[in-house]
C-alpha cells in the first residue's frame, strides 16, 4: 500500500460491473429505478442502455478508498455523475479507479480520484477526505 503522503499516487483498482450486480444493488439500496434494469425503459427516457446506479459507481469509489487507506474513517465523500456507466446484457463494464493524495492536514488526508469506464471519465471531481489513524 502507498503511504498517504501528499502527492502519493494510489494504485489503480478495476471493478467489473454486471447486470446482476445492479439487481443486487437495487435490492440492497432500495433504488429500483428501471433504467438500471430494463433496456427498453432506459431507451425510452433517452439513455444509451441500462446504466449503473451512479451510487453504485460511487460505492466502488468508496471501496477503493477503503483499500488505499486501510479502512480509514471517511469524513467527506463527493462526486458529480458526468457520464453513465453503460452495462451490457452480456459480460460487464469495467470501472477503473485511480487516485492521488492531494493534501494531508489536521489529521485528515484528501484524496482526488479519477474514475473512468472505457477511457471516459464517469465521475466528475470525485474526492474523499479520510481521518488518519
Amino acid at each position: 500500500m502507498s503511504a498517504l503522503e501528499a502527492g502519493a499516487e494510489l494504485a489503480p483498482q478495476e471493478f467489473v460491473v454486471r447486470r446482476d450486480d445492479l439487481v443486487a444493488y437495487a435490492g440492497a439500496s432500495g433504488d429500483h429505478n428501471p433504467i438500471h434494469q430494463d433496456e427498453s425503459i432506459a431507451h425510452l427516457v433517452g439513455l444509451p442502455g441500462v446504466i449503473a446506479h451512479g451510487m453504485y459507481t460511487m460505492a466502488l469509489a468508496a471501496r477503493a478508498v477503503a483499500v488505499w487507506t486501510d479502512d480509514a474513517e471517511v469524513v467527506d465523500l463527493g462526486c458529480k455523475f458526468t457520464a453513465p456507466v453503460v452495462v451490457p446484457a452480456e459480460g460487464g463494464a469495467t470501472v477503473r479507479i485511480a487516485g492521488t493524495v492531494k493534501s494531508v492536514a489536521d489529521g485528515c488526508a484528501t484524496l482526488a480520484l479519477d474514475v473512468t469506464c472505457a477511457g471516459e471519465k464517469v465521475l466528475g471531481a470525485p474526492k474523499a477526505v479520510v481521518r488518519l489513524g
Binding site: 432500495g30 460505492a59 471501496r63 474513517e73 467527506d76 465523500l77 458529480k80 455523475f81
Partner: protein, 130 residues
C-alpha cells in the same frame, strides 16, 4: 411536468426511522463488494433514497425520468450498527434547462437522539418528456 420552482426552501417530512442492523449492512456491503469492517461510506443512501422517493411521490415525478447529477456525504461521525437513522430532505434549488429540471437537495441524516450524523447533498436531474 416541470418541477415547481416554488419548492425551493421547502423541508419535507422526515423519513420513518431506519434501524441499521448487521444484516442491512452486510447486504449493502455484499452488493457493493465492500470488505470494510466499517459501515460503507455510501450506506446512508438507504435513507436518503427513501426521502427522495417520498419527495417524488409527493410531487408526482416519475422515478424512471430522473438521474443522479451529483452526491456528497459530509459526516459528523461514522454510521454504526444500532443507529436509527432518519433523513429530512430540503429542496435548495430548482432550475430548468431545455425541458430538464435540475433539483438541488440536502438531506440531514439524524440519529434517534436527533443529533446530526451526516449531511447528504444531491442534485437530481429530471428529464422531461420530449
Amino acid at each position: 411536468m416541470p418541477i415547481d420552482a416554488s419548492l425551493v426552501g421547502r423541508e419535507f417530512p422526515p423519513t420513518a426511522p431506519f434501524l441499521v442492523t448487521e444484516a442491512e449492512v452486510a447486504s449493502f456491503a455484499a452488493a457493493t463488494g465492500s470488505g470494510s469492517r466499517r459501515v460503507p461510506a455510501t450506506f446512508p443512501v438507504v435513507v436518503t433514497f427513501r426521502a427522495l422517493l417520498e419527495f417524488l411521490e409527493a410531487e408526482r415525478v416519475e422515478l424512471a425520468r430522473i438521474v443522479h447529477g451529483d452526491q456528497k456525504f459530509s459526516y459528523e461521525r461514522p454510521v454504526v450498527v444500532g443507529d436509527e437513522l432518519t433523513a429530512t430532505l430540503t429542496v435548495t434549488g430548482v432550475r430548468q434547462i431545455e425541458g430538464t429540471d435540475i433539483l438541488r437537495t440536502t438531506s440531514a441524516i439524524t440519529d434517534a437522539d436527533g443529533a446530526l450524523v451526516c449531511t447528504a447533498g444531491a442534485t437530481i436531474v429530471h428529464r422531461g418528456e420530449a
